[in-house]
């Protein structure tokens, strides 16, 4: 059978062309949609199971805190949060060495509020008269930076220590 090349054939060609255009449009829209959807996903996700002073913690805070820790804390508390050697033994000055901030130390026994106070105001802010080599960071770091350092430290703890410290923080009703 000879092929029909009359108006119907042209109409069919147009239909095919429209379909192709439509498909391309749909595809383009779909691609755009994927991009739009991808852009609507949170670029700074929450860190599961971690809060600070009752607020959720974002991944960007932990990353910022890691750098701030390296710049301000690691020289005493250790690059891996391991503390100074023999940290349970007093120095010749009578002061105690910097303790570890990992799960081998005692940091996870303290509430968020107390950790923030110690970092901002020094140990004397929570134990009046206590002499320590740890400076008060309140004049060098913003509150947000101190919080970032602390959430970084908290992010390194195993689950048991995180849960324990979360309970201590929840029960801390002081000041």
């Amino acid at each position: 059978m000879p092929m029909n090349k009359g108006p119907k054939d042209r109409s069919a060609k147009c239909t095919v062309r429209r379909s192709v255009h439509l498909a391309a449009l749909v595809s383009a829209l779909a691609t755009t949609g994927v991009v739009v959807l991808a852009q609507s996903e949170p670029v700074d996700p929450r860190v599961e199971g971690l809060t600070f002073l009752g607020e959720p913690v974002l991944a960007s805070q932990v990353m910022a805190g890691q750098q701030l820790y390296a710049d301000n804390c690691a020289s005493c508390h250790g690059a891996s949060l391991e503390g100074q050697p023999d940290w349970r033994r007093r120095l010749d000055t009578g002061r105690m060495p910097a303790p570890p901030h990992d799960d081998s130390g005692h940091t996870w026994h303290h509430s968020d509020r107390m950790l923030f106070q110690i970092t901002k105001g020094g140990v004397g802010a929570v134990v009046p008269g206590y002499e320590s080599d740890m400076p008060a960071f309140g004049e060098d770091l913003t509150d947000a930076e101190i919080a970032a350092i602390l959430v970084y430290i908290k992010s390194t703890w195993p689950e048991r220590q995180r849960e324990f410290q979360a309970e201590v923080s929840a029960n801390d009703t002081g000041g």
């Binding site: 033994r89 007093r90 509430s111 107390m114 009046p128 410290q165 309970e167 002081g174 000041g175």
Partner: protein, 309 residues
């Protein structure tokens, strides 16, 4: 974990000790009376039984009226018991090490994985965990065992008070919340009272619970009446039935606190060298006062001498 035990087989030393012990049971009150101010001595309640370490270990089941000598693995300087583990007695030894009895002092063992050499000036059992034992090592620091004496680790260096490290002469695990998920360990030193949370972050003064709030608010600090400064605290006790009730033995006398060591009042003026409180009655205390063992059933308001005189 291997341990050395006594109390199983008789030998010449034990027979001699038993013979001497039976004699001592009658002469002990005079020995108790002979104890002088400052002599190392320790007291503990194991249920209703009173244990006295004073140049030997002696046990009384009748509130101090009669005593029986018990054999030990050394010269006992310090004693600790626990209300939830009747029969368990922890003894710190002058020769070093901590020995443990599970039968009220009838037999003892000491683990091979012992503490470093040195006199054990004080021992305590954690109020919430009878397997957690604390021991202070003269010239060294505070050690802890989480497995009833089988293994030990350093918990904390000695406290820094008046520009020097100070010996821990007495210890008490006090079941008062620290706000750090645990409780306090109080320590008597050569120059006064101090305490450390059981997370061992730092030694610190005893303060009223709301002292920091007052500081922040700029208000007058809460009232305090501390123990006399610069005086050795030879013995400390916290009542298991009411942990805020504490007693302290000092050369200036026997002191009591109703609020976890913030405000102290003198309960006896004679030099006190040891004190213990009953596990179920915070007003029932035993103390060595002026070298004589005395009992009080009213928190130290009145005292009764024990044994023959």
């Amino acid at each position: 974990m291997k341990s050395i035990e006594i109390g199983c087989r008789p030998n010449r030393r034990k027979v001699l000790a038993a013979v001497l012990g039976s004699g001592l049971a009658t002469v002990l009150p005079r020995l108790v009376q002979a104890a002088v101010d400052g002599d190392p001595a320790a007291l503990a309640f194991d249920g209703d039984t009173i244990l006295l370490a004073d140049r030997g270990l002696f046990v009384s089941d009748d509130a101090g009226q009669t005593w029986t000598a018990a054999e030990t693995l050394g010269n006992v300087l310090s004693l600790a018991t626990h209300r939830d583990r009747p029969g368990r007695v922890v003894a710190g030894l002058a020769e070093g090490g901590v020995s443990i009895s599970e039968d009220g002092g009838a037999s003892w063992r000491i683990f091979e994985a012992r503490l470093p050499d040195g006199e054990i000036t004080a021992v305590a059992i954690a109020s919430r965990n009878p397997d957690m034992i604390y021991a202070s090592l003269r010239g060294d620091g505070l050690w802890k065992s989480e497995d009833a004496g089988a293994t030990w680790s350093l918990a904390m260096d000695r406290p820094w008070l008046d520009d020097a490290e100070r010996e821990l002469l007495s210890l008490a695990s006090v079941e008062l919340e620290t706000g750090m998920g645990g409780i306090w360990i109080y320590a008597g030193t050569e120059v006064g009272l101090t305490r450390v949370p059981d997370c061992f972050c730092r030694w610190q003064d005893v303060q009223p619970g709301n002292a920091m709030d007052a500081l922040v608010a700029g208000e007058a600090p809460p009232s305090e009446a501390p123990l006399p400064g610069g005086e050795p605290i030879l013995s400390l006790a916290s009542a298991p039935s009411a942990p805020e009730v504490m007693y302290a033995a000092l050369r200036s006398g026997l002191w009591a606190s109703q609020d976890g060591g913030v405000i102290w009042q003198k309960r006896a003026s004679k030099a006190a060298t040891a004190v213990a409180v009953h596990p179920r009655d915070e007003t029932y205390i035993a103390a060595l006062l002026g070298g004589i063992l005395k009992i009080s059933r009213d928190g130290g308001a009145t005292w009764i001498e024990t044994g023959e005189r």
